[in-house]
Symmetry: C2
């Protein structure tokens, strides 16, 4: 038995879209997190309740499969469910579907609870966990590891964390990492292709004020390529990802 | 007689807010433009119709007065109206109010029509203008000029235009300029203060791929200060602004 399902409708606004009029990858992630925040609020375990525990939810991995990128002005339904958990890890899934009920996006994510003062992982606490009714299991899903490309075109870009990258939890909004990653690629690549599968692992949080070195390797052929991404602050690997790309024309 | 009024409700989403849980200035501008785009669509002169004319609306100036920054999860009403126009310029106003009807934000803007191929200003064409029912006048409002500070603390920051800064019209989304401007200021300033009045003039469009030099001068005393902003691409002054700041505590 899985957990409680939560759904909400969302109209993609023009400022959530790119020059192709498709929703951007960072905004897609924002929309999914919005649904989980709204579910938490509904179940009485929203930010207010969380703040009394000194803990915060932190995502460690996302695997996002995208069949079709929703378009500006499209009304989509975002659904989410805390599938199961063990003592430390919780699997939460997300689905985005169009008006006809076709699934456009499916994501699986792993969340942990962090002591916000010590910035250390904590055991999940029943007080916060129970309302989601997720199943207790011994072993949660293992999402794929990040694959290192053997060779390819090397790209990189430097960024400084901006004031507006920081969210209410006083950490860099997870969606910003996606912008730092994909912006290393050529405009031509981003104009003609969309990420059909994204596997991202967060290792270390990027702190306000940090300088980011976003490295990418593009491998494969013109019509069939993938990218590997690494986000560094100095010598620390903070985040890494594999992205499979697909042409909009296919 | 002024033009047709259009209103819509909008809930401020967490990803439209900053670490203080207030809506960000760029998102505030996005929300206003959203209302004007939705009105245009409703009146049959949305992007599709516009694209048949080869023209596009371009904002040349905003004067935004903010009494109170809306907060995350707050439901606001955004209203807009094409007030009046002469042969070349159109005055469009915006209001944002809270659930009780209190006005939080009032903005006046000047829009022109641009030939998208030649990137040159054009006379307003009746075909697009008439549905808004804005009044024809000889002289439209003159918004305040940008004031140069006599002295103050000099700040600057460099940016490169990112793929996701470009919107559907293939130009840099207007709201990005606000991020480039305010991000020159210290986090401490941005955490404790909000822009109570913003006067921004757009002179030259920033092009995709450009390198931006955002300069600012902060003048006045600790409790009563203002900033002057200039956005350059090489030696070209693209945008300038005056911002008055007010403490959240007042």
């Amino acid at each position: 038995m899985a957990g409680k399902n939560f759904s909400e409708k969302h109209r993609i606004l023009y400022y959530e879209g790119d020059q192709n009029a498709h929703v951007t990858l960072p905004m897609l992630v924002n929309m999914m997190v919005l649904a989980s925040e709204d579910q938490s609020e509904l179940l009485g375990v929203g930010p207010k309740k969380m703040s009394t525990t000194g803990l915060g939810w932190v995502v460690t991995q996302y695997q996002i499969k995208i069949k079709k990128m929703p378009k500006i002005n499209e009304e989509v339904t975002i659904s989410t469910e805390a599938i199961n958990h063990n003592a430390y890890f919780c699997q939460r899934d997300f689905w985005i579907s169009d008006k006809e009920g076709n699934e456009l996006v499916h994501a699986t994510s792993i969340f942990v609870m962090m002591d916000l003062q010590k910035r250390k992982m904590q055991k999940l606490i029943p007080e916060i966990l129970e309302p989601y009714e997720s199943e207790e299991v011994k072993q949660i899903i293992r999402l794929p590891k990040i694959i290192e490309p053997e060779d390819g075109e090397k790209l990189s870009h430097q960024y400084s964390v901006r004031y507006l990258d920081i969210d209410q939890n006083r950490h860099v909004n997870n969606s910003r990492y996606f912008e730092w990653m994909i912006n290393t690629l050529d405009d031509e690549v981003l104009t003609n292709n969309f990420p059909s599968e994204v596997n991202v692992r967060y290792h270390v949080e990027v702190q306000p004020g940090a300088m980011i070195n976003s490295k990418a390797i593009r491998s494969g052929s013109q019509g069939d390529f993938r990218t590997n991404h690494k986000i560094f602050v100095d010598d620390t690997l903070c985040t890494e990802a594999n992205i499979e790309w697909q042409s909009y024309l296919e």
